[in-house]
Each structure stands twice: as structure tokens, then as C-alpha cells.
């Protein structure tokens, strides 16, 4: 084994330029696959990572909801729905939210903003860890005509930035800003453009006590799907409609996203594979030339007693070695490439994504390289092994 390696190595060394080009071909192919996969994993993690901390939440909306936020609204929930949901076992907290687009005025400037009414007691139970207050304080039970505002509302919506304790007008009545939320971005960027008031104040603004969304936090993430089903059943029953509501667990949203990412990765790999196919043609070509140039040598080997399989393994070893080195080089280039690509994406979109290089991807890359090398070396190697000794020795 060691000697075949040595022999193959000598032959590779003699054909440095051509071999290094072949090697580079393989390396680029493998690097492309590794870079794309690593960037893909990094992207996936940065997207799903945000959602993972919300995995124990169930969003309940009337109508068919989808992740994008477009849903056909069929109606609204009521006090009884909330009570029923709270009674379902495994539900830790349930918070009802009323929402409505209202005119907001600050220092004479007017705009329309989504106003969310929510029970202060419940808000911290459900969102406490996720949405933090940057300045001021949260809403309190006995607050009256007070609001907490999203980060963008404070900084971007009006010419002048809103500060804690400033007054704004919502739907014509005056409210005091008690707190400004931290910037959320990503999937929770909606919150940045919302204003939160107590349920009591919301009733006053909206003129009714309709509930437009209920969010549930479960005790045990494993039970989330089951609880979501129970919630849908119970509320559909309350409203005597089949598909009145849609309860979506964050877990299932994450699963959906993962499927999307897996698909995306598959597409990227398919594209990168084209470069591997090209590389494999390169190896085959190099090996065919090498076999031809060494016809005389093969003849000598066979004349002194080499069996077909001795010759075969020699050539396979050669292509295997070239492609293995190519694979290792590809890993190095791939890791560099992944970091460069994620840096460029980060610079272009302002969202820092760090590529995730997985050991199994690297090992897989090397394995694929060797496999491609051996498979493309097979035909030339067989050709060499089948040569007739006299004819091959005569060849100069």
C-alpha cells in the first residue's frame, strides 16, 4: 500500500503543472459546496435562532394565518375564548391583544399606527423575556392613558424623537409615554412600529372589547402542537364555525423554515455540484493522459509480472491521492470563502451573519472529492490495466 502510494506520488510529482490544475479544479468544486453550505447553515441559524427563544409560544389568530402575516380575517375573539384557553391544561399564560390602526399625533405631526391593547399583568408573563424595555418602564395594571412605544415610533416616525414622559395623542385622546421598547428587528420588527396601551384604554379607543389575537405560553414545548389543536377545537366550537381560528406554534414555524432552508441548501449544492462534475471530467482527462504517457511503463510492469489489478490500483491510487489533496485544499478554500461571503452579505445588508462550518461538512467534502476522483479514475485505470504487455512495451 505504502509503496503504491509512493509510486503514484512519484508519477504525480513528474507532472506537477497538470496535476496541480486538476487538483485546483477539484478544490474549487469542493470549496464551492462547503462555502455555500456553511453560509446556508449560518443564515438558517441566524433566522431560526430568533424564533427558538419563542418556541414555547402559540399565536392564535382568527382566520387562516400564515407566517408572512397575511391572513384572511374572519372575525375576533372574545372574553370567553380567553377564559376557555386559560383552562386548557398545559397553558401557562394566555394574553389577549386588541389591535387597531389609529391616528397618532405628536407635536402637531400626524400618522397612522397600529395600536395594541394588552393586559399589563400578562404582557410580562408572555413577552417579558423576549421584548425588553429600553427606557422608562413597562405598562402597569392601574395605568390610565399611558403607553409604551416601539423603537421606530420613538426614533423614526416623527421629525422629533419621542422621549419618555412625552405626551402623544392616540385617536384624539392624550396619552403619556411611559416606556420605549428595545429595537427588535428581524422577525419581531413589527413590534418596533407598534404602540402598546392597557386593555382598558384600548376599549376606550376602539369602542369595543374585541380581541384580535391571543398569545399563549405553554409549560412544556413538547405539548405545544397538541395544545394548539385543542385551542383551535375549543374556539371553533365557541364560534360554531369549522375553521374559525388558527393556532400556530413557533415550533412549527421553525420546522417550516428549516424545510425551506433544507430545500435552499439542496438547490445550492446542486449548483455547486456542476463544478464538481467539471472537476471530475478534469481528473478523467488528466488520468487518461497519464495512462497514455505511461503506456510503456505499464507494459514493463505487466511484463515483469504485474496483474491487471496491480496496475488498476496504481492508477486509482493516483487519482485518489490527487483528489484527496484537492478535497483538503477545497476545505481550506471553502472555509475562507464561507467567511468572505458572510462578511460581504453582512456588509451589504447590515445583518451580521456568521457562517457555520460543520466538521461533517468538511469530512463529507473530502469524502466526495475522493469518491469523485476514484470514480473518474476508474475508466482510465481500467484502460491501463487491460493493455497487452508486448504492445505496451513497444509503445514509445
Amino acid at each position: 500500500m505504502k509503496d503504491v502510494l509512493l509510486l503514484a506520488y512519484r508519477d504525480i510529482k513528474e507532472r506537477k503543472a497538470r496535476t496541480s490544475l486538476t487538483l485546483l479544479g477539484i478544490a474549487v468544486g469542493i470549496a464551492a459546496v462547503i462555502a455555500l453550505m456553511s453560509v446556508g447553515y449560518g443564515f438558517e441559524k441566524s433566522v431560526t435562532g430568533e424564533l427558538v427563544e419563542m418556541a414555547d409560544l402559540i399565536m392564535i389568530l382568527p382566520g387562516k394565518a400564515s407566517l408572512g402575516g397575511d391572513y384572511v380575517e374572519l372575525g375576533s375573539f372574545n372574553e370567553r375564548d380567553l377564559k376557555d384557553i386559560e383552562r386548557i391544561s398545559g397553558v401557562k399564560e394566555a394574553v389577549a391583544m386588541a389591535s387597531s390602526m389609529e391616528e397618532v399625533e405628536y407635536r402637531g405631526e400626524k400618522t397612522v399606527v397600529d395600536i395594541i391593547g394588552i393586559e399589563p399583568r400578562e404582557i410580562s408573563a408572555v413577552f417579558g423575556d423576549i421584548v425588553k424595555t429600553e427606557e422608562g418602564r413597562g405598562l402597569r395594571e392601574n395605568d390610565h392613558k399611558t403607553c409604551q412605544i416601539g423603537h421606530s415610533i420613538a426614533k423614526d416616525y416623527f421629525d422629533e424623537e419621542i422621549e419618555v414622559n412625552d405626551r402623544i395623542k392616540i385617536g384624539g385622546s392624550k396619552f403619556r409615554v411611559v416606556g420605549i421598547l428595545e429595537k427588535q428587528g428581524g422577525f419581531k420588527s413589527g413590534i418596533d412600529s407598534e404602540i402598546f396601551v392597557t386593555s382598558g384604554d384600548a376599549k376606550g379607543i376602539l369602542g369595543n372589547d374585541d380581541v384580535s389575537q391571543i398569545t399563549v405560553r405553554v409549560r412544556n414545548i413538547e405539548e405545544a402542537e397538541e395544545i394548539a389543536d385543542k385551542i383551535e377545537e375549543r374556539i371553533d366550537e365557541n364560534h360554531k364555525l369549522d375553521d374559525f381560528t388558527n393556532a400556530m406554534t413557533m415550533g412549527s414555524a421553525i420546522e417550516q423554515l428549516k424545510t425551506v432552508f433544507a430545500l435552499l441548501r439542496a438547490v445550492l449544492i446542486a449548483i455547486a455540484s456542476i463544478s464538481l462534475i467539471v472537476a471530475s471530467i478534469g481528473i478523467m482527462n488528466t488520468m487518461l493522459m497519464s495512462v497514455m504517457e505511461r503506456t510503456h511503463e505499464v507494459g514493463i510492469m505487466k511484463a515483469i509480472g504485474a496483474k491487471n489489478r496491480n496496475v488498476l490500483s496504481l492508477f486509482l491510487m493516483e487519482s485518489g491521492m490527487v483528489s484527496m489533496v484537492g478535497g483538503v485544499l477545497g476545505c481550506v478554500l471553502g472555509v475562507i470563502g464561507a467567511n468572505v461571503v458572510s462578511f460581504v452579505i453582512g456588509a451589504a445588508f447590515g445583518e451580521g451573519i456568521s457562517a457555520i462550518v460543520r466538521a461533517e461538512v468538511l469530512l463529507g467534502g473530502i469524502a466526495v472529492a475522493v469518491l469523485v476522483g476514484v470514480l473518474s479514475g476508474l475508466y482510465p485505470a481500467r484502460k491501463a490495466s487491460k493493455m497487452s504487455p508486448v504492445e505496451a512495451v513497444r509503445y514509445e
Binding site: D3, A303, I304, G305, A306, V390, V393
Partner: protein
């Protein structure tokens, strides 16, 4: 030891048929030193290739130790070439990327002999042909005569009973040629069958028996 029966070989070059061997019968005893002479193109190499199991006859058969080689598979023929026959070429035919030691050990490598044993035996064989100081030289760093000695050492590496030389002295000066013939004579006196092709009468004089070839036929001497 080796027996050729009604051996014929016809080369086909497109539509033209070149009869290179015509009905050759030959029996070579163990311990014999046979020289085959004849002008260029008379079929000497063709005959040696058949005897050395490098090529197959168009008709007739070669028996080695009473085994009909026509009945053997490619692998079995390779084994005969590896174990029973040492072939020496006019052009030496060493592998240029390997040094003398590695060239000599190559047939042992194909036979699956372990590395240490291979290297030890290769060094002994090179010493035997007087190249103990040239073991790590590449063929390109050796003279023609030295290369041919490496080739002889290689032919001996699996200790074959038969040594076949196709004009082994054809590419070296006459002094070196005589030295090589002395080595071959020595191998013969060790009990090996030696068959040598040459067109040099002086060289042929070393042999026990000389056969002449003409137009693919073997003439009685």
C-alpha cells in the same frame, strides 16, 4: 522445461498479414543455455515473447513445465511471468521514476513480498551484479551497461527458473556485453535455464546450443 509446438504467429496490419513465426518446434531443457541467432526481422523477438508468456501465438502452443500456457487466464500468465521467468530487454526497460533498488524490488512488490525483505533482497541482487554503490541512482544516472545490470537484477528478484534475454547486449559496448554474458553464464551454472537472442556470433559462442532463425523458421544448426 519449455516446449514450443507448431508455434505460428501472424501479425495483422490492417489488411496485410505478416507471418512472423512459421511452425516453430523447440524444446529447451532445464539447465540449458540456448542462444538464438538470426538477422533482424527473422522473428527472434516474436518467439521470445511467446516463450516468455508476453504474447499469445496465432496457433500452436507453449508448454512451461508441461503446462499449456494457452489454457491459462491473464492472471495466471502474469503469475508465471512474475515467478518463473525473468525477462531482460535490449532497451533495459527500467522505470525511470524509480531508483535501482526500487526497480529491482518491483516484481517482489507485485508478488506481495514485505517491504523490508524486498529491500534486503534487492540490495543483495544489485551487489551480485556489481552495483552495490549505485543502489539509489535513477536509471538516467546510470550507464547503459549499469542499467542492463539493474534489469538483470530485476529479472532475478523473484528467483525465476528461466531467464530470457532479447538482445541483452545489443545496446552496450562489446566489453560490457561480455561482462553481461558472464553474468548470464553464472546464472546458468546456478541451475537456471537461459535463453538469449543475439546477432553477435561471439556472444552466441558462450551458449551450449545455438539455433538460427530465418524468415520465421528455426533452422537446425
Amino acid at each position: 522445461m519449455i516446449r514450443a509446438e507448431n508455434l505460428s504467429k501472424v501479425y495483422r496490419m490492417g489488411k496485410i498479414e505478416v507471418p512472423a513465426l512459421r511452425d516453430v518446434n523447440l524444446e529447451i531443457e532445464k539447465d540449458e543455455f540456448l542462444a538464438i541467432v538470426g538477422s533482424s526481422g527473422s522473428g527472434k523477438s516474436t518467439l521470445l515473447n511467446m516463450l516468455g508468456c508476453l504474447d499469445k501465438p496465432t496457433s500452436g502452443a507453449v508448454f512451461i513445465d508441461d503446462v499449456n500456457t494457452a489454457s491459462l487466464s491473464e492472471n495466471e500468465l502474469a503469475e508465471i511471468r512474475r515467478e518463473k521467468i525473468g525477462f531482460i530487454f535490449q532497451q533495459f526497460n527500467l522505470i525511470h521514476s524509480l531508483n535501482a533498488l526500487e526497480n529491482v524490488s518491483l516484481p517482489m512488490f507485485f508478488a506481495g513480498v514485505g517491504r523490508d525483505e524486498r529491500m534486503k533482497r534487492a540490495a543483495e541482487l544489485l551487489a551480485k551484479v556489481g552495483l552495490e554503490k549505485r543502489m539509489h541512482h535513477k536509471p538516467s544516472e546510470l550507464s547503459g551497461g549499469q542499467q542492463q545490470r539493474v534489469a538483470i537484477a530485476r529479472a532475478l528478484s523473484n528467483n525465476p527458473e528461466i531467464i530470457i534475454g532479447d538482445e541483452p547486449t545489443g545496446n552496450v559496448d562489446s566489453e560490457t556485453g561480455n561482462a553481461i554474458m558472464d553474468i548470464l553464464k553464472g546464472l546458468n551454472s546456478e541451475g537456471r535455464t537461459v535463453i538469449v537472442v543475439t546477432h553477435d556470433a561471439e556472444i552466441a559462442a558462450h551458449a551450449h546450443r545455438v539455433k538460427r532463425m530465418k524468415d520465421g523458421r528455426l533452422l537446425e544448426q
